[in-house]
Symmetry: C2
Subunit: 257 residues, 2 copies
């Protein structure tokens, strides 16, 4: 959706943002390295970095530049204003308490899934989650989301981001993906058996937008469990029911925000 049309862009700003994005993916980096990697004159790079530093988007330390924590705060503020977050936070907490597992709230943007909130129950597995960005095809949250959008939209996303594998079980095949989305659509929940991360399995339910005429999705909610617990009724019945209950309640409450 985003990219090219024929209209004008501000090239200087594009460069500044390119530098910012470049820094974001790295540890501390020197100005000269930025210049070399991006193919910009060293002096030019310097002015861009000064501008970024002035505006407090970038911090300079002994051994190089890095992105400022300001971005974290700005991102956090955006999340706080999202209705899916406002309606979903309490439900995630509750679900984590009840199941004792790790529960996650996701929202889609630019064809990615952003994990905007999580809570760990007693027995929960332990990783970074909140703040992360993931592809949509290799995890339950993403598949729950995709199960609710038009197939053109899926095309668009797959075309943009591909279907890269992160484990041997990741779905890398468009037809296989479609089949799973179909069953997810009928069952109301999506599963993930170590497709994103070895040892981790998930169940997720989409959070739809019930107020607009054509039903649309914004995100999804999930429970993540260690593979050892991903079996029997617990994983195929109990958790799916809990997750989709939670999703339904969020859908209703979301309208109040």
């Amino acid at each position: 959706m985003a990219r090219e049309t024929g209209t004008k862009r501000i090239e200087a700003s594009e460069r500044t943002l390119e530098i910012l994005g470049f820094l974001a993916g790295r540890e501390r980096t020197t100005a000269t390295e930025v210049a070399e990697r991006l193919g910009i004159a060293k002096s030019t790079t310097h002015y861009h970095l000064k501008t970024l530093e002035d505006a407090e988007f970038v911090v300079r330390e002994r051994d190089g530049y890095r992105v400022s924590l300001n971005l974290l705060t700005m991102g956090h503020d955006v999340v706080s204003q999202m209705s899916t977050y406002q309606a979903g936070k309490a439900k995630v907490d509750e679900l984590a308490r009840e199941t004792g597992e790790l529960c996650i709230l996701m929202v889609e943007e630019h064809g990615y899934g952003y994990y905007i909130y999580d809570n760990r129950g007693e027995d929960a597995v332990n990783f970074d989650t909140a703040g992360n960005r993931k592809r949509l095809h290799d995890n339950a949250l993403g598949k729950a989301f995709l199960s609710q959008v038009s197939s053109e939209r899926v095309d668009e996303i797959v075309e943009r981001h591909g279907l890269p594998a992160t484990t041997p079980r990741t779905i890398t095949d468009r037809e296989k993906l479609d089949a799973e989305l179909e069953t997810a659509r009928t069952e109301g929940v999506a599963f993930d058996y170590e497709e994103q991360l070895n040892g981790l399995c998930c169940v997720a339910a989409p959070i739809r937008d019930t107020q607009s005429d054509d039903v649309s999705v914004r995100g999804a909610i999930s429970v993540a469990v260690p593979a050892s617990r991903a079996q029997d009724d617990y994983f195929t019945e109990e958790l799916p029911r809990a997750v989709s209950d939670a999703a339904n309640i969020i859908e209703l409450e979301r309208q109040d925000y």
Copy 2:
């Protein structure tokens, strides 16, 4: 530290970043409103927004523009690379488990305190914390930090951000602040009695950088408790000991990263 020297900045980029910062503080905003508020021509604003949108720093929705969740992820990535985070995360988890309270890890930047990680124990109070940015004078974390920097540095920060009050008990007086910092320096921990938020009290210890010659600080760690529990030995002895133990261990481990 940051702002003015005589050197050149890239004005177009300054504008782009100004717009981005402006959007960050608001809900969805229309392009024309941005133009009016910032005093930029509507057409110019449009090009800037297109540029930001292209680079996926901003998202356009029906009723206006908003900042992209990309910023959240970028911020999150920065945090993951910080040695204070890497060394402190596990300790915060442990402290939360032991005390049952809310524990927070803070890092300083640009004269602000950024809450980069938290964990809630069983009985913990419940707010947004991680991702937030706070002033340094009105809470235990900030005061623990300030207690370890030169008084010139404190001057600088106070001058830049002032001493605004958020509750009746906030310290708004420079001498009172200095006195508290002095006792924090000797005791090794700082306290906060409902100075930032009514009903909330904290104990915090600074996390120093022990490897450089001149000892410097990077952040602080704290326990936050409801005012009702902020009394007796629990608050004046037990928690301070637990918090400064944790801080010391982090200081040692930080060197490995």
